[in-house]
């Protein structure tokens, strides 16, 4: 018996993979108007957080004679308790919130993914130890501990705040990644990779990680929503010492010293950061819709 070349495949037009990859991503992002909107919002805030604060000095101009002024051509969103421009405060304050979320997100995802991957992949003792650590992180009550931590350790900079949020917030991701890893582990391609003798690093990074990416990304975005809530919440509660203007501080000031709930004058001051938070989260949620397709080549192509 001889081998018959069984196929006469039609030759497809050769397109470079890279071009196709980006075209696929573009297609995914533009498939629904919501995603475009989400992306635009996120890009807008990123730009605002990156370049906005460069436009204004840290100490915004104050004007004791124009406290809680209504919106005007000069002050687009009115002024705050010290007569500073609310719009400027909003721009200056965006950096802290965004940077914190970014740092916390990177940290939580990094740690959570690493722990979940290693635990799921190695099983045995390493798994037990890592999962106990994860259980520990999941068991400690997050917000209360944050409150305590913020008192022990002043989170002056977004870096510190982000790190702490990340430290408290990686457990969920680790658990999700682990259970996903466990199920992927039984898949043929992983068994194949192992019996081919590919290194563990290769397996973890090249084989597992891309398959986990949608889960990680999904969890990351969910985590970001909770980070926004936690951090702005801490400022709102007035627990975290704030060094500079940020949205949480603005809400806190508006409610607790501006009387925004009682008086319409300070309402702008309250609403401006609230709307920004809502907008940011809307952007995240709308963008979330595209994540699955972004990471899955099969969905990406359709």
């Amino acid at each position: 018996m001889t081998i018959a070349p069984l196929t006469a495949e039609p030759r497809p037009a050769v397109v470079t993979p890279r071009r196709r990859y980006w075209a696929g991503i573009r297609r995914v992002l533009t498939r629904k108007p919501g995603r475009v909107a989400g992306l635009v919002i996120l890009v807008f805030f990123t730009l605002m957080g990156t370049f906005g604060p460069m436009l204004y000095s840290d100490n915004l101009a104050v004007d004791p004679n124009a406290v809680y002024a209504p919106p005007s051509a000069e002050h687009w969103l009115g002024t705050d308790f010290a007569g500073s421009d609310v719009f400027q405060a909003l721009v200056v304050g965006s950096r802290y919130v965004l940077l914190t979320c970014a740092i916390a997100g990177v940290f939580a995802v990094g740690l959570g993914t690493a722990v979940g991957l290693l635990a799921g992949f190695h099983r045995g003792l390493a798994d037990s130890l890592l999962m106990r650590a994860t259980d520990f992180v999941l068991t400690i009550p997050g917000l209360p501990v944050l409150v305590v931590l913020s008192t022990v350790w002043a989170f002056g900079s977004p870096l510190e705040m982000g790190l702490v949020l990340g430290i408290v917030g990686w457990g969920g991701i680790a658990r999700a990644v682990r259970s996903q890893t466990l199920s992927l582990r039984e898949r043929g391609f992983l068994e194949a990779a192992r019996s081919l003798g590919l290194s563990n690093r290769h397996i973890l990074v090249k084989e597992l990680l891309p398959n986990l990416a949608p889960y990680v990304a999904m969890n990351l975005l969910l985590a970001i929503v909770s980070f926004v809530e936690a951090q702005v919440g801490l400022f709102f509660l007035g627990i975290v010492p704030f060094t500079s203007t940020n949205w949480g501080v603005m809400i806190n000031q508006a409610v607790f010293s501006g009387g925004a709930l009682q008086s319409p004058e300070a309402l702008m001051y309250l609403l401006a950061p609230l709307v920004c938070i809502l907008l940011l989260i809307t952007g995240v949620v709308l963008f979330l819709d595209a994540i699955d397709e972004l990471f899955n080549p099969r969905l990406r192509e359709r």
Partner: protein, 584 residues
């Protein structure tokens, strides 16, 4: 269905919030509990009510005591005719004795050993004729405020609290009152025993309220307490409202909300922004103002450059526009502070003569003077920025505390003023007061906010400046001084200062105030004010004002501006004197 709406229906329900005793859900109904649900002047009664008269600490409104007088070392107190408990039984010697004893287990135990110059120093209570009782001072006592101490004690019912104290209670008290240094050990042991009793007392939760005050607790909710008028109160006829509702609050903004809805008949001061004030006033609330013996200041760590130079501190005092800061920080409850004297404005006026006070530098806002002083201190100005003598740029971090929203707001303005004058300033916040104090004691800050001029006594005021935080510890009328790190001295002011050509030690001067009558105290107070104005250990930004709101929708006849002694007291005290009558 808010309780305000019930006012009309039930007639005479007086609704308020109690700033000193916010309701603490779950805490016992016990005046000795630090968070207890007991309401001073309503169901928590005293013999008298301190008028906070700076010139006479013993000046009181009558409470359960109709009148009193010092006879030698003893205070003779005449109880009100018909001083009764809400269960109808009269207030007896037992009640008074027990209340004094309980007082010891609380505050006196902690301060009793301080040479008997302060605190409660009663060594016995005895009957002195019909309705009169004699409160004897402990031997060797030099307490000028004995009357105030006795009258200020909470009077509780012996039937309710009696079982908490041991039979030999007074022996223990006497043991704790010995001044002989050889007996220090016994004193300590006795104090410990008293503390032990105190623990039980403070944790004790009476099931039912028995009050000698105008009201008695009917019902305690997590969100409010309802007090019924005490029919057996000695002045029940004068008391207008038939019920009092004290509402719980946990933040100022809540009180604003209550008032905005017209739910309160009277409310104490809270930091209020002007826009909210407008809203509240449009609801018919009126405002009374009286003196409040607290001041918000910026304090310096005088061991740190450039604040180690008094010229720099003086210069800053000139540079700061305190009025602008007040306008943003405390527009309603504050008054721009005058010169730094260590006391609030009214106290300064009371204790210093016109000449004396006008001789003090008022530090009116004056940039030119400030720059001159800075230059004199060796600072230089280049390109609009100030540089220190060592060539580094002058950057200031202004430390503030979370939750003190007025300080935070004012800091923004101050930072702005200083920055535009060439001193780069950034406000920075501590997480809470605990953290702030600890960091302050650990000398982590150069400049920070500090409450000064606390209380109506000059000694209390100056102790804030020349006491523990400046390294001074009073022993009798002398003070020892330490500069050690970690000793609590974070101000590091000079030990000896030359004022008016005289070298004085402000710590010693402050300690001396303890045992002096008004006339002998005045020159010392003047000296201390001079020291303060010259050295500027703190820059006062504003004097707090004691603001109260009232609404005449349901009741009339509230105390008015000018009645500072009344306004500084509690609504129950007013009612016992016939204020607050239902609207006809």
């Amino acid at each position: 269905p808010d309780s305000g709406a019930k006012n009309g229906a039930r007639g005479g329900v007086f609704t308020t919030v109690d700033a000193n005793n916010p309701i603490t859900p779950g805490a016992p109904m016990n005046p000795y509990n630090a968070n207890g649900n007991s309401f001073v002047s309503f169901n928590t009664m005293r013999l008298g009510w301190d008028k906070k008269n700076p010139l006479n600490p013993n000046d009181n409104f009558p409470g359960l005591a109709k009148s009193w007088e010092m006879k030698g070392d003893s205070l003779i107190v005449h109880l009100q005719d018909g001083a009764k408990w809400s269960d109808g039984t009269p207030v007896t010697l037992d009640d008074l004795k027990l209340s004094m004893a309980l007082g010891y287990t609380q505050s006196a135990a902690a301060v009793g050993a301080r040479g008997l110059t302060e605190g409660l120093n009663v060594s016995s209570v005895e009957p002195a004729g019909a309705g009169a009782f004699e409160f004897k001072q402990a031997p060797g006592t030099k307490n000028l405020t004995f009357t105030k101490q006795v009258l200020g004690q909470v009077i509780v019912n012996a039937k309710v609290y009696g079982h908490l104290v041991p039979a030999d209670m007074w022996d223990i008290i006497h043991a704790s009152q010995q001044v002989d240094p050889a007996k220090a050990k016994d004193v300590k042991a006795a104090a410990a025993k008293l503390t032990g009793v105190g623990k039980q007392v403070s944790a004790f939760a009476p099931q039912k309220d028995i009050s000698a005050g105008p009201f008695v607790v009917r019902k305690l909710n997590p969100g409010s307490v309802i007090l019924d008028k005490n029919k057996n109160f000695y002045a029940a006829k004068k008391v207008g409202p038939s019920q009092v509702v004290v509402r719980h609050y946990s933040g100022n903004e809540q009180i604003w909300g209550f008032m905005k809805n017209g739910e309160l008949d009277a409310a104490p001061f809270t930091a209020i922004p002007e826009n909210v004030l407008k809203q509240i006033e449009s609801k018919g609330y009126q405002r009374t103002e009286s003196v409040s013996y607290v001041q918000a200041s910026l304090a310096f760590n005088q061991s740190r450059a450039p604040y180690d130079k008094k010229e720099v501190r003086q210069g800053l005092a000139y540079l700061l526009d305190r009025a602008a800061a007040t306008k943003v920080g405390q527009p309603v409850g504050g008054q721009t502070a005058a010169a730094p004297t260590g006391m609030v404005g009214q106290m300064t006026q009371a204790w210093l003569t016109k000449d004396q006070s006008s001789a003090l530098e008022p530090y009116a806002h004056d940039t030119a003077k400030a720059e001159a002083l800075f230059k004199k201190a060796g600072l230089t100005k280049k390109g609009g920025k100030w540089y220190l003598a060592n060539g580094k740029q002058w950057k200031m971090t202004l430390q503030t505390v979370n939750g003190f929203s007025d300080w935070i707001s004012a800091s923004t303005v101050i930072a702005n003023q200083l920055s535009s004058a060439g001193i780069d300033t950034k406000p920075q916040l501590s997480a809470d007061f605990g953290k702030y104090q600890e960091d302050m004691a650990a000398e982590k800050f150069d400049v920070g906010w500090w409450l000064t001029a606390v209380g109506s006594t000059a000694r209390g005021d100056f102790q804030r400046l020349y006491g523990e935080s400046d390294g001074f510890t009073a022993n009798g009328d002398k003070a020892s001084h330490t500069d050690k790190k970690g000793s609590g001295n974070w101000m590091h002011g000079p030990v000896n200062v030359t004022v008016g050509g005289k070298r004085v030690n402000p710590g010693d001067l402050t300690a001396q105030l303890a045992g002096l009558d008004n006339e002998s105290a005045k020159p010392i107070i003047n000296q201390l004010a001079q020291v303060t104005a010259q050295e500027v250990p703190v820059i006062p930004i504003w004097d707090y004002t004691n603001v109260k709101f009232y609404n005449e929708k349901n009741f009339t006849n509230f105390p008015k501006n000018g009645q500072d002694d009344l306004l500084g007291n509690f609504p129950g005290t007013w009612m016992a004197q016939g204020y607050i009558q239902p609207k006809k």
